[in-house]
């Protein structure tokens, strides 16, 4: 019996002793090293991921300049008031994109039988994105670590900052490769990929930032002469405002965009920026921006003969109305009232946590076809990275620096003015308010043109005031809002405490407290990086 039992026991144990669970497990949702970098599609999909690093939310950066402050009582951005410290910064996203580009360079040769034309298109995009990221980095931080291969953890100790000029040179080489490899146009199905024109335009932008006037003018000119791009509504049929609406998606003015589509791949610009309670009242233009728009005759308002400060929105550059939503306008069916009184409803100053801080709301981007409180959070408008007008102004500015008052500089800036019906700048008739008789006069007018053409396209103004060296001056001036005064009145509406409000008279709303200093022209090196690597020096003026 015992022997029988033992046999039973052995039979019983056999399955357990011989079956063995498989300990080799591979991810079910991801490709792995074993299966990847085998065919051309792998490289194409890898380089496509870099498009996710294109900026889109930088429109919000208008608060980092003198153009706007945040609603929601957040006042001016910390960047513009100079109150921040090294722990507020990170460059991980930039280096993550750089790693993706470097991985393409490191792995693409693993793919066998790749035809050169297709391979170059992939390489061209990778060069573009790497250059674009280094431009973004040096513009913010100055000297930065440079790597052109994917780093290992063991490489960390050797990381140090490379002088900015050297990074600039390497970046320019990348742009040149991108220009060389990229096609002028992609097939319709590939619309949105970086083109030769986009690479030239970005190279021109980078050169302009560092006052390399010749390179900036040369590459802007190449884009202009390519014939691929043109201004939207250049004949001025009154559609300029639509340039910032979804219907302009795909137009010839856009050189590079980040694409969106409602519900599939959307963002929330309007939901954030629209006035309360249609949106969160995110961006409030300053008086300084409002005053930057010339009168309709082309005169700055300080010298204007026709400007009426009690009716400030009459007889102005049409772009003012495109950018700024003010008292008395109707938007999304709401009559905008900004007086700090109960009768104004939720849009009145101080009547709501999201209400305007300056008395103005932002209007650019408010597309009437998009219902803000729902679709405004799920909108499909493309985010524009570079548009053609930038090339015209870049050319005008660079040309005027290289060759003062060059007619081609006038021509370029005037193309931008003409499309909104503003009179042309000139150096022939000193009696007109558009007269620019000196290089500096034209320079100042071009700078103002940058400001009003690209108003509230936050990716621009904050960097323009830095490259012109005027950031300290304009940011330390008080941030002003509109003027108003409250007076006792028997005609006051019930609930307004016997007061009525007179707008555009009295004192300006005033925000002070900026402490912008010379060192703020560069951001501090992120503290978290310096904590891990003592080779990473800090920029001057920041706590070491």
């Amino acid at each position: 019996m015992k022997i029988r039992n033992i046999l039973y026991a052995i039979a019983f144990m056999m399955p357990a002793l011989t079956s063995c669970v498989d300990l080799e497990r591979y991810p079910l949702e991801e490709l792995s090293d074993v299966t990847y970098w085998k065919e051309p599609k792998d490289a194409e999909m890898a380089v496509s991921d870099l498009y996710r690093s294109l900026p889109y939310w930088d429109v919000d950066d208008a608060i980092n300049s003198d153009d706007a402050v945040h609603g929601i009582k957040w006042a001016a951005g910390n960047i513009s008031i100079g109150v921040y410290d090294p722990s507020d910064f990170s460059w991980s996203d930039n280096y993550s994109a750089i790693r993706k580009a470097n991985t393409v360079f490191a792995k693409i040769d693993n793919i066998t039988g790749y035809n050169t034309a297709d391979k170059n298109k992939v390489l061209g995009q990778a060069h573009f994105f790497r250059a674009f990221q280094y431009f973004t980095l040096i513009r913010q931080f100055g000297d930065v670590p440079y790597t052109d291969s994917p780093l290992n953890l063991s490489d960390q100790d050797g990381v140090k900052r490379m002088p900015r000029d050297e990074v600039y040179a390497k970046m320019m080489t990348d742009f040149d490769k991108a220009v060389e490899y990229l096609p002028v146009n992609w097939s319709a199905a590939e619309y949105g990929r970086v083109t030769k024109g986009a690479a030239m335009a970005m190279k021109s932008r980078a050169a302009l930032y560092y006052n390399k006037w010749d390179v900036a003018a040369e590459y802007a000119k190449k884009v202009i002469d390519s014939g691929v791009y043109s201004l939207y509504d250049k004949e001025n049929t009154g559609k300029y405002q639509e340039l910032f609406w979804e219907k302009a998606d795909g137009c010839d003015e856009f050189i590079l965009v980040r694409q969106f589509k409602e519900s599939e791949n959307s963002w929330y610009l309007i939901g954030w920026e629209a006035f309360p309670t249609k949106g969160w009242g995110g961006i409030n233009p300053t008086q300084s921006l409002v005053d930057a728009f010339e009168d309709i005759e082309g005169s700055p308002i300080a010298q204007s003969k026709i400007y009426n400060e009690k009716k400030p929105f009459e007889n102005r550059d049409p772009r003012l109305e495109v950018n700024v939503l003010h008292d008395g306008e109707v938007m999304y069916g709401v009559n905008i009232k900004v007086a700090p009184l109960k009768s104004s409803g939720v849009t009145g100053i101080g009547q709501h946590g999201d209400a305007t801080a300056t008395g103005y709301y932002q209007q650019k981007w408010l597309d009437p076809s998009i219902e803000p409180s729902s679709k405004g959070w799920d909108m499909g408008k493309d985010a524009v990275v570079i548009r053609y007008a930038e090339m015209l102004l870049t050319y005008a500015e660079a040309k005027n620096e290289l060759s003062p008052l060059d007619p081609s500089a006038f021509d370029a800036v005037n193309q931008v003015r003409k499309r909104v019906g503003m009179p042309e700048l000139q150096n022939t008739d000193a009696s007109k308010p558009t007269y620019c008789g000196t290089q500096d006069a034209l320079r100042q007018r071009i700078r103002n043109e940058w400001r009003v053409e690209f108003a509230l396209e936050g990716g621009k103004r904050q960097w323009d005031i830095r490259r012109w060296g005027i950031a300290k001056e304009v940011l330390n001036a008080p941030f002003l809002g509109l003027k108003y005064k409250l007076v006792d009145s028997s005609s006051a509406v019930d609930g307004d405490g016997g007061k009525i409000c007179i707008l555009y008279e009295g004192e300006n709303i005033k925000l002070t407290g900026s402490k912008y200093e010379d060192h703020n022209y560069l951001y501090p090196i992120p503290q978290s990086e310096r904590d891990l690597n003592s080779n990473l020096t800090q920029n001057p003026g920041y706590p070491n």
Binding site: S48, D49, L151, P276, S374, D531
Partner: protein
Amino acid sequence: MSFLNVFSQTGKAEKTISIQFSNLSLQAALNRFEQASGYTFFYDAAQVNLQQTVSMDVKQATVSKAVTELLKSTGLGFEIVNLQITLFNKKSTAAQQKKEVRVTGVVSDDTGEPVIGANVLVQGTTIGAITDIDGRYMLNVPEGSTLVISYIGYTNREIKVNVAGNYDIRLKEDSEMLNEVVVVGYGTQKKANLTGSVASINADALESRAVASVSAALAGTMPGVTTIQSSGAPGAQSGSITIRGKNSINAASPLVIVDGVPGSMDSIDPNDIESVSVLKDAASSAIYGVQAANGVILVTTKKGKTGQRARVNYSGTVSWASPTARLQFLGAADYAMLYNEAVKNENPNDPYPFSEEDIRKFRDGSDPVGHPDVDWYNEVMKKSALETQHSLSVTGGTDKTSYMASLAYLYQDGLSQDKNYERYNGRINLNSQITDWLAWGLNTSAYRGIDNDGFVTFNELMHHVIRIPPTNPIRDKDGNFVHPGKDNPVAEQGRTGMDRILNQQLNATAYLTLTPLEGLSIKGVYSLRHDYRDRRRFKKDYSYGGQSSGKREGHHNYYNWNWYTSQLLVNYNKSFGKHSFGLLGGIEQVEYTYRYTETSRTGGGNDALTESLNTLDASSQKNNDGGHEIARLSYFGRLQYDYENKYLFEANIRSDASSRFPKENRWGVFPAFSAGWRLSEEAFIKDNAEWINNLKLRLGWGKTGNEELKNTDIYPSVGTYAYNKTMFNHTLSATTYESRYVNPNLKWATVTNYELGLEAGFLNNMLGFELSLYKKRTNDMLLYLPILGVVGMDAPAQNAGSVENKGFDLNIFHNKQVNKDLKYSVNFNVAYVKNEITDMNHTEGVDPDNDKYWRLEGHPIGSFYGYVANGYFNTEDDLKNYPKRTGSEKLGDIKYKDLDGNKKIDSADRQVIGQNFPSWTAGLNLAATYKDFDFSMLWQGAFDVDAYYTMEAAYSFFNSGKVLKRHLDRWTPQNHNASYPRLTLGSKINYSTSSFWLQDASYVRLKNISLGYNLPKRFLDKIGFERMKLYVAGENLITFSGLEGLDPESPSDTRGNFYSNVKKVTIGLKMTF
């Protein structure tokens, strides 16, 4: 002979048994008989041949008939006394020819009461007697004999008799502790012989607790087991359990084993629990290897007993739950007054937003629409929520098969209209002895929990409640809901749609046990556990007050988890003389798979069709699916040895391999050794210090492993490329990116554990204690060490850093049977743990998940780090002379200590200001029974712990929100001794992390109190019931804590938008028939 009395005593109501076997050794047969009958055999091994084989087959026989049948071929005689059967050799009894002496005496218990029916037996013989009604016995015994006096429930006494005379004997009540059997890893063990640190509670401890989960019931019952119950939400009244401090920065939960296989604690009906054991040290837990670092909790469910008649048990409760604490917000008039003050503080030039007239109207309620005073909390929250629990079970067994079957239902209403929870549990445990060498069993359980909530969930609703000011009306004058720019929680009640989570679990464990040789058993186990979750959310169109609620949305998500566990366990037990060995060897394979599908649509739809996505806009549909798999293979073994039950030794080893680690580092070996010395078994104590019943010294050392990686790191050793999407030509296009940096050197974290224990019982175990001192050190923690952003990847896990926990657990007990009617017990436990990060590998700094916590060497995990508040800027002089943080400070703002004395308040002036995990925890359990009443009380407390209250739970007008009662005592030029700084609206100047917002969260609370009445037996006999008990109980009724408005167990860094812990009053009924 005096045996005659014996028969007359046992003549009444003998129970009947059925038993059948053939060709068993007498020893095995006696064991079987004992199991089947509940009787115990007594015999002299020298006189009885245990190796002879016997067979029997009786049905419904009386015990005496059955024993006669059993012994028919053995030549043995027997006597039955109470539940003891004494065997004797019929031939040899007469041969005792030594000189006889007469002994007499009285047997009494420890209270001096005479013991009636005690058995007095001459050792090695069948000579014996039974004590009479006065506890008296009389016996003629051979000279030099040893008397053994025994009585059920008392420890046996031995006494040497050399001369005739009077021998009075006092019996000690048998301590349950010593014979108690506790569940340990892959087996059970006598508590007395444990060499590791195991805490356990049994069903009695859960008897009068109206708790829905086992984890909640553990609070306060075991030293070193810290249970924090932060929520009282229906379906979530469970606690987080930490055993002897946090072992790692990536805090993980203990391993939970239910009936031998991986399970979960909170899906079990507490009425089904037989016992819960917590393996606290490596000596007891290393048998679970790599999963054991955070301790192991073993849950055992109730089983039937063979030969026991079917018993039906019912347990039912009705409870009323209400919040233990709530944030106290001010009404409209105070709000308006303070708002005016805050506006002026922000900008002295701004006009007052509220006039005197407004404030008067808010106060007198004369204008309910224009000047309302809304207590939003009371408008939305119920005063109390009803909970009911019903559980029905049947246990019993035939001669070969035992069973337990149960059904349970739980309903918990929530404090808000949309919130409630239902749970159904079912369980069948079966065990059958097919032949004398083969048994099989099956444990199955099913559970279904339905968690209902609105689309705007309770926490969001609570957030809306605590944000909306009292000056906002609920409705306009026409009775329509108002949307005052903030979500109106009354308008959201019952109208937003649903968020329903259905959790199901099916668990089936089948096993076969072979006993091919005596002492050898081989057990094969296969278990399948299937967890399923179905989460359905539907957002209705609940627009109100001119505010669109946006498009309808539907989200249907399905999740599946499967565990396939197979085990082969071989046990061998053998004794040679004074040596006893126990050997265990085992193989375990666990395969775990997880799959999910997530789908959603937005737009279109109909509010009446909340269960289907089909009416929603098909073009908006999104879906996701995926999952992961983990496999583990383990070998383990245990050797137990004891010499005379005096010197105990145990060794455990486990070798684990997991698919999560790179091939080269896949195997980890986790050994543990422990030893015990039962000093109380030594003659020098036994003979000299009778008052010491138990004294044991334990020592242990061992290692356990830890694989607490993030769920996103199921495959940390495989370099992967994940998919994403971008758009070309406005069409989504798939992209890939490098998603994991592979660290090829990754391996387990290891916890090394040292343990020293002392257990003692005195005065018949009326008083005693258990003390454990321990030190645990975690090395090679799996840290996501920060890496340079320049690398461009998320940090991979790396083995780095150490954590140490040092502390003690102490349990002191006292129990006493005062007299026949009154019995009481006191159990006090206290534990201390000092947690310290000893090495952070140069990455000391802020916790990336929460900037209030820092990870600093020399400080515990969960340390709050910030400035040290030091009063207010009270005068212009203060403002001028005292160092400031921003420079924009005004009178009434918080001053901070300038710790480095550099006349600036900067980051160097921060330090550790508190901790979020208690160093000290304690529990006190008092229980008493008097006649038919029983009473118990459980106090529980935690000390040296802090909580950080922030945002709505602390700041005035935060996010345009409300003001709390504490804001009345704000700083003003007249009130410098304030508990709150000057009032502000949006200025964040005082919000920097500082000790100002930190509160001592130590507390003592009456976790449970209950009073029960057991209906008298004579009444129950009439209606055929075995037991019926009525009781009232309360949970969390009294709390002593320094916190205002929040429960001390609430999350330690909170803005207050969560479901508060609850207190409950319960009435309950328990019946058995």
